[in-house]
Structures are given as structure tokens and as C-alpha cells.
């Protein structure tokens, strides 16, 4: 490429105005895919057997919306328990104290090694296994006394089952994140006189987050759907709610589609949230653009050129 001499101002070279490489193949593929997509949507939308009327009628129904709220509550609580528990377990696991790291290892072994469905059921039947629960010194005075029936409701059992299981998985994710941080970081912080706890909180974890967040997003989306296991203890989450409906009306496929569309909506919102979290914790590092960022940047450039 040659730049015309007169266009070059003194001191600062002119910005390059080149014709970008044309990706003709991409355009052909895009047209083809768009055509297939439109055809697919059109044929599904015009297929009576999908029961669009039913979907429409039930989509905003109170039963369904209550189910969504239950699903969201379970997901948020279980993931909070999972993330907090996972961090605690991961830090314990990396402790130089063999007792502490052994306890963390055993926790993961038990909670990751048994089906989450069984764990939910066991928590629900805790009242049968351990009817009363006291806090005090063994063989000594009792301070508080609980009745498992009042304490472990179906909702609490669901949260415990999902959250404690999730903590086991999260602890491995967090541990991988912590191990991914350059050991020189901890060394530099140690040399500055920081304590182990401070180093973890201020230096290591913020950097580990970059590695921790993508799989955590995965876990959250997975939890959104795994939480439907609570139907075994008769908690009416989204999936259980549509099941209740189609057991009455026999409109199985439309109702399952209602649930699926709602799950997709929730997943999409989570994906956007993950994007912003990743950007926040990626600050200070040269990062590759995500698909969405590239798209936005492209739009900006195009509209800028037109203006």
C-alpha cells in the first residue's frame, strides 16, 4: 500500500484507509444458515401439534411463575452456598495443616461421590433419622434444642442437598483457580509482610477469579436445571409445576416447551451477567475479545465510518 505524499501531515502519519479483506465465503454461509433457520422456525410455528395456543395460554400463568420463582430461589441459594463453601473448602484443602486439608478432602469425597438426588432425599428425611438436634457440650449442658421437623422444611432440605453438593464441585474449581496463579505473586506479597489470609483475599483470589468464573457460570446454568430434582420432595419448581399441569391436562409437549423457553430465558440472562463479571475480573490483563465484544466493536466502527 502506498500513501499519497500530500496526505501525510508533518510529524504524524495519516491513518491507514485500506479496503478490508472481504470474506465472501462467510456471506454465502450466513445467507444459507439464515435461510435454513427461517424455514425451521416457520415450519415449527405453523405446526399445530406443537400446541402454540396452549403454550400461549400457560406461559404467564401464576403456577408457572411461582415455579420460576422457586427455581430461581433454589439456584441462587444453592450457588451462594456452593461458592462460599467452595472457597472455604479449597483454601482448607491447600492448607499446610494436614488435618484441615484432610477434612476438606473427605468432604469432597463424600459429597461429590454420592448422587445429589440421594442427598436431597436424605436431608428431607433427616427428621426421621435425627428427630431432635441439640447444641451443647456432649455429656454436658445443652444450650439450644431444635426439633428437626421445624428446622428442616422441604425448602431447607432442597437448599442443603443442592448447596452442599455444589460446594464440593466448586471447591475443585476454586482450587484449580488458586493453583493457576503465579507462585511469584504469593512470594511478593509474603515479602511485603502480608499474612496468609490477606494474601489469599487481596492477591491470589482476585487473580484466580479469571479462571474460576467461566466454569462457575457453567455450574450456575447447570444448577438452574439440576434444581428440578427437588420435585422428589414435592417442591414446586418450574419443571415440577409444568408436570403438575400436564398430569391434569395431558398436554405434555406444549407444557415442556413452556418450561424450556423459560429455562432458555433465564440462561440467557445469566450469560450476560457472566460476561460483565469476566470483564471486571479480567481488568489489568490484555484479554481477547469475546464474540459479543467483537460484534459491538464492529458495529461501532461501521457506524463511525458512515457518520
Amino acid at each position: 500500500m502506498t500513501l499519497p505524499e500530500e496526505n501525510v501531515p508533518r510529524g504524524r502519519p495519516a491513518e491507514i484507509k485500506a479496503v478490508p479483506v472481504r470474506h465472501y465465503g462467510r456471506w454465502v454461509a450466513a445467507v444459507l444458515i439464515l435461510y435454513i433457520a427461517i424455514w425451521a422456525v416457520y415450519s415449527v410455528a405453523n405446526n399445530e401439534r406443537f400446541g402454540w395456543d396452549t403454550i400461549n395460554a400457560w406461559f404467564w400463568d401464576g403456577t408457572i411463575l411461582d415455579g420460576i420463582v422457586m427455581t430461581l430461589e433454589l439456584t441462587v441459594i444453592a450457588m451462594l452456598m456452593g461458592v462460599v463453601g467452595g472457597i472455604v473448602l479449597a483454601v482448607m484443602r491447600l492448607s499446610p495443616n494436614p488435618l484441615i486439608s484432610g477434612v476438606a478432602w473427605a468432604y469432597v469425597w463424600v459429597f461429590r461421590g454420592t448422587p445429589v438426588l440421594v442427598q436431597i432425599i436424605l436431608w428431607f428425611y433427616v427428621k426421621a433419622l435425627i428427630p431432635t438436634f441439640s447444641l451443647g457440650i456432649p455429656f454436658g449442658p445443652t444450650f439450644v434444642h431444635f426439633n428437626a421437623n421445624d428446622l428442616i422444611t422441604a425448602f431447607v432440605a432442597g437448599c442443603l442437598g443442592l448447596g452442599l453438593n455444589e460446594a464440593a464441585y466448586m471447591s475443585e474449581i476454586v482450587r484449580a483457580g488458586i493453583l493457576s496463579v503465579d507462585p511469584g505473586q504469593g512470594e511478593a506479597a509474603t515479602a511485603l509482610g502480608m499474612s496468609r489470609a490477606k494474601i489469599m483475599r487481596r492477591v491470589v483470589l482476585p487473580q484466580a477469579m479469571r479462571v474460576i468464573i467461566p466454569p462457575t457460570g457453567n455450574e450456575t446454568i447447570s444448577m438452574l436445571k439440576t434444581s428440578s430434582l427437588v420435585s422428589v420432595i414435592a417442591l414446586a419448581d418450574l419443571l415440577y409445576s409444568v408436570q403438575i399441569v400436564y398430569n391434569r391436562t395431558y398436554q405434555t409437549i406444549p407444557m415442556l416447551l413452556v418450561a424450556s423457553i423459560w429455562y432458555l430465558v433465564m440462561t440467557s440472562i445469566l450469560t450476560v451477567g457472566q460476561f460483565y463479571l469476566e470483564r471486571y475480573f479480567g481488568r489489568g490483563t490484555a484479554q481477547r475479545q469475546t464474540m459479543l465484544e467483537r460484534f459491538v466493536a464492529n458495529l461501532r466502527v461501521r457506524s463511525g465510518r458512515r457518520a
Binding site: E187, A188, A191, Q207, G284, T285
Partner: protein, 280 residues
Amino acid sequence: MASDDRPSLQKADEDDPVPGTGPRAGAPEFMVRAEDVHKSFGRLEVLKGIDLEVRPGEVMCVIGPSGSGKSTFLRCINHLEKINGGRLWVNGHLVGYRQKGDRLYEMREREVAAQRRDIGMVFQRFNLFPHMTALGNVMEAPVQVKGQPKGQVRERAVALLERVGLADKMDAYPAQLSGGQQQRVAIARALAMEPALMLFDEPTSALDPELVGEVLEVMKQLAVDGMTMIVVTHEIGFAREVGDSLVFMDGGVVVEQGRPRDVIENPQHPRTQDFLSRVL
């Protein structure tokens, strides 16, 4: 060196009169004193009896072939590594141990951390915190470790960054800085803790040749200002110009030491002669 915020250490000091650390009142005679220091990693003995003395205000340069234990010795000084034998004092305090009578007691992690506050360390690979700006890096330890008020620390951090010539890079993240700039931030970060002693482990070895000068210039200024420094380096020119003493290490022992000019121009030991003939 004031240690008014560390009563435990002072108390420890009173019941272990350390031989050779000079008069109790005022500054100790030696900033660093190593006596027959041994260090092994498993069965590999890396330090085989190091004896050294660094006076307050002295700049000691350490040279030697790769694997001779230079980094390991520096890391022992601020207890990043635990020594297996001998004694090591910094500023009159035993490093990592407390002596009562004939017995040595290991210090708790908190006490070791408190000792490290007085020792700044600069690494070959900078090790800046990538998720903090240059200013954030410099402010981190005084705020988090010493609990000093942010406003006051910020003022000092800004002054330090100006002193290392980075007034315009306060808000840059490490990834946006050149190697030389990063290393200068790292020096400012160590200085923010107001250390009595600075350790440099090959601070210019990871830098492009044209960036070495700016870092050495900052270190030279620090030496002129009276900082006590131990500098592991391959920059013989710096050692000759700035160093008060030069130590040649090989195979885990100090082979030769003396005034830089004497050691460089007139090495006595054949291993020193051999090493210098290869690096000069």
C-alpha cells in the same frame, strides 16, 4: 530502625543478647550478619556455610555462576526459606527464631511477617500484582499490612512513583508498562514499607538491554540516599560503581569478597578469575 509497633520482638531481643551485633543502644553495628548459614533442599545442600556482614548504609553486590545459591541466600534473609544451620541476624534480630538461653524457638507466622516488613525485596520477574494499578501496587502493603490511613499512604505512594520517574503512569496496570517501568514500580512498592534493608535478586536480568539503565539509575539513587542494599547482579559495571563491597559466591560458599575494584581488577581465587574472565 524503630520497632515501636512490635513489642514482642523487642522483648525477645532483651533476653537474647546476640554476640557481635554491637551496642544495644541505637542502631546495631551490622544490618545483616550471617554466621555459617546452611541450607538444603532435601539432600541437595545449596548453602554450605555462608559468613557475611553488611553494615548499615552499605551496598553489597553478589555475583556468581548460576546455581551457586545467590537467590537462596537472599530468600533466607527474609525467611522465604528456612535455614538448616548457622545463624542469621537482620538489624540485630535473629531471623525466624527467638533465642532463650541455648534454646531456639521458631517464631509464629505473624512474627515472621512482622520481621519481613523491614526488608524490601525486588524480584527478577517483578511480580507486580496485575489486577492493581501502579499506584494500587505501591499502596497495597502500607494500607493492608500496616493499616495506615489511605490518604496519607496515597500521598507517599505518589511521591515514590515520582521518585522512580513514573509520575505519569500512576493509573496504568502492570500489563500496560514496559519491563523497566514495571521494575521501577516494584522498587517503589518495596520502598513504601519504609524498609531498613533492600534485597535485589537480579533486578535487571529480565529486561531488554536498553531498559537496564533506567532501573540501575533508580537503584544508584537509592544507594546515594543511604539505603542498605544487597544486590545479586550480573552488572559488573554497577557493582564497581555503586557497590561498597563485592561478594563472589560459587557452589554454596563465599569464595572471595572485598572492595569491588579489588575483586574485579585483581581477583585472588582462580574460580573468581575464571568467572570474571567469562562475564567481562
